[in-house]
Symmetry: C2
Subunit: 352 residues, 2 copies
DNA sequence: ATTAGCACTCTTTTTGGTTGAGTGCTAACA
DNA sequence: TGTTAGCACTCAACCAAAAAGAGTGCTAAT
């Protein structure tokens, strides 16, 4: 059987109505709301076909129809195709978003040292905007370069190392050394470090670690310091994940079921579980991705749809933004919002 | 009417059974489980009295009795009085806790620069231990002293300031200055800063700010730098709040009601709302505090009990730990756990 | 090919009856 | 006088049957 234009129109109508109400939709409703001017009987026949093709199902005999994952998928794909042509209109909503980004920016400026906090703010705003739950992963990437290293003594046998990365991400650590070093030696170490280590990426540093040591005559103290630096920098490379608006899921009855909600919030709270998801996403598809129902790799989200967008900042930081909502989420709005955020995220950070 | 010993015993029995089951408890049950050897009829009379006195209520005529906030309060107070005498026995549970703290400690050692992360870990472990939701506030306090300051140039017109506080809390910030400063000048500034600023608390710094400027001949650059330092240090003073195990509330049917759970999780997620609570608690009562039902200052917790304990670390950091659970929480266990944590928290941090 | 009409199905809501837990009260008892 | 047995009463919880409502599939007419 073929999915002709009329069938598609009907499917679309079913989905759109279901997005709105969350209730199974019947043939009569479609007959009324669509502009096809067909009787409910005709629609019924078509719907039977659509069901046979697997795009919609009845929760039970004599109920209206509900879109299946396959149905959503078709719908989402069609939206995307459409979007590709007519680049979406810039409207009032955009103005609003612009303003919100302005707010985030302001907050950001005030505490530039805490990347995580900014992400947190972005996640929150995004959640507020969309009324869905959000998650954002950030990974500064293994080719983030070291820009500046500074060693200083804070106590007799305790040193402080501060490392500034490209993009002004700062890491530091206080550590204990086995023997006292003179101020003069620290000065020397600093000079040495800034000539050899600066400009290296985490990856390069790892490779060159022993070479550097050798070049500088295998001083035991140097080895110690270098290792600490490496450890510290590598930590900065950790994937961080923040979430926002988790309680938004209570806005959708189909997700408010105690068990579903609990599992969902648990996964969102313990960010660990998400990293797998967000990290596998990124590479190839540079655009926006959809995971509808069973398509999501996380079991607790099998009643949801997840839309993700990857981003890359000019300082090499990469990550993924995810929006989690009911399967009947407003896909068009979400796509638009994500595209927007993605475009502007780089501005946001690089301005500083 | 007077609350004689027998009445109290009955009240206690009612509460204990209710803690266990979560269901209203009737006179027959009490007759059976208590060792008073009274008939259910007598118990009934006594219970009627207890109800009149406001310690218990019936959810509806012909239902068993449920403790009121007042009833819980009496019970909790009595436990406390009892505890004061017989200092609780050290048992197997303690061993377990010891081990968990060991774990946290290990994690802590690995990233000493992120106090927040440790708190996070503590909150999580605590939540796991108790099966309730937890929250911890930390405030480094206004009399935390500056230990070390270091200024360095990372770009032509960008400086980095690193400040180490007593207790090795590190803060840093990259900022732009209006004119280029020579390396020599930076060196001079550094020496100056470390003689004048080191050893001052945030409060003292604020007071002495203009005095220091004056003493050093009102250089415009100095003013700029000092302000940045002050701002940065003051930020470190921010109250931070972490939460853990929020989804534990789903373990208690009476809190799993969609609306209650939503409100509760929302308050826990948006930490802001909690600070009022946790901060007002601290000062006078150095021990453990109970907020039963309506006694909690946060509306969304009116169906819960909250137990808080304040702590103070040797580096001046203070804060409050809170445990949020159903009114029928296991108060004894919670008190024990909190006391434990409180005792050990200082060890945990000061060891490093 | 479309549509009106009707019988049929299945959920949801309503109704009414039954059960069981638990109470309050009274009267008997020690 | 305090305790207890017994009984009438209340009310939530459960269940089954009935009614209502929404929607379908199919047939026959257009």
């Amino acid at each position: 059987m073929e999915l002709d234009n009329r069938k598609f129109k009907i499917l679309e109508a079913v989905i759109q109505d279901y997005l709105r109400t969350g209730e199974p939709v019947g043939s009569r409703t479609i007959a009324k709301i669509s502009d096809l001017s067909l009787s409910s009987a005709t629609i019924r026949n078509e719907m039977a076909d659509l069901e046979e093709m697997g795009y919609i199902v009845q929760p039970h005999t004599s109920a209206g129809r509900v879109p299946t994952d396959k149905g959503y998928r078709l719908y989402v794909d069609s939206i995307l195709a459409q979007k590709a042509h007519a680049e979406s209109q810039r409207d009032a909503a955009l103005k609003k978003r612009e303003k919100e980004l302005e707010n985030i920016k302001k907050e950001y400026a005030s505490r530039l040292d805490r990347m995580e906090d900014v992400m947190q703010a972005v996640a929150r705003t995004l959640a507020n905007d969309t009324n869905y739950a959000t998650m954002i992963s950030t990974s500064s990437g293994r080719n983030n370069k070291i820009k500046f290293v500074q060693l200083s003594r804070v106590e007799e046998k305790k040193l402080l190392v501060v490392i500034v990365m490209e993009g002004n991400v700062i890491r530091n650590k206080v550590f204990r050394v086995s023997e006292t070093i003179s101020e003069k030696n620290i000065l020397r170490l600093n000079m040495m470090l800034n000539t050899t280590v600066t400009g290296l990426s985490v990856e390069q540093l790892e490779e060159r670690l022993s070479a550097i040591e050798a070049e500088n005559g295998n001083q035991p103290m140097l080895r110690e310091v270098l290792n600490i630096i490496f450890e510290t920098v590598r930590n900065a490379d950790d994937v961080q994940i923040v979430t926002g608006g988790t309680t938004n899921i209570f806005k959708y009855p189909e997700l408010s079921v105690s068990e579903i909600a609990r599992d969902l919030i648990t996964t969102l709270e313990d960010k660990q579980g998400l990293s797998g998801f967000l990290e596998t996403v990124a590479p190839e598809s540079e655009g926006i991705r959809f995971y509808i129902g069973e398509e999501t790799p996380v079991k607790s989200m099998r009643d949801c749809s997840v839309v993700t967008a990857s981003y890359e900042l000019s300082d090499g930081t990469t990550g993924t933004i995810g929006i989690i909502g009911p399967k009947r989420m407003d896909y068009e709005m979400v796509v638009e919002t994500l595209n927007n955020i993605r475009m502007r995220l780089d501005d946001l950070f690089s301005k500083n």
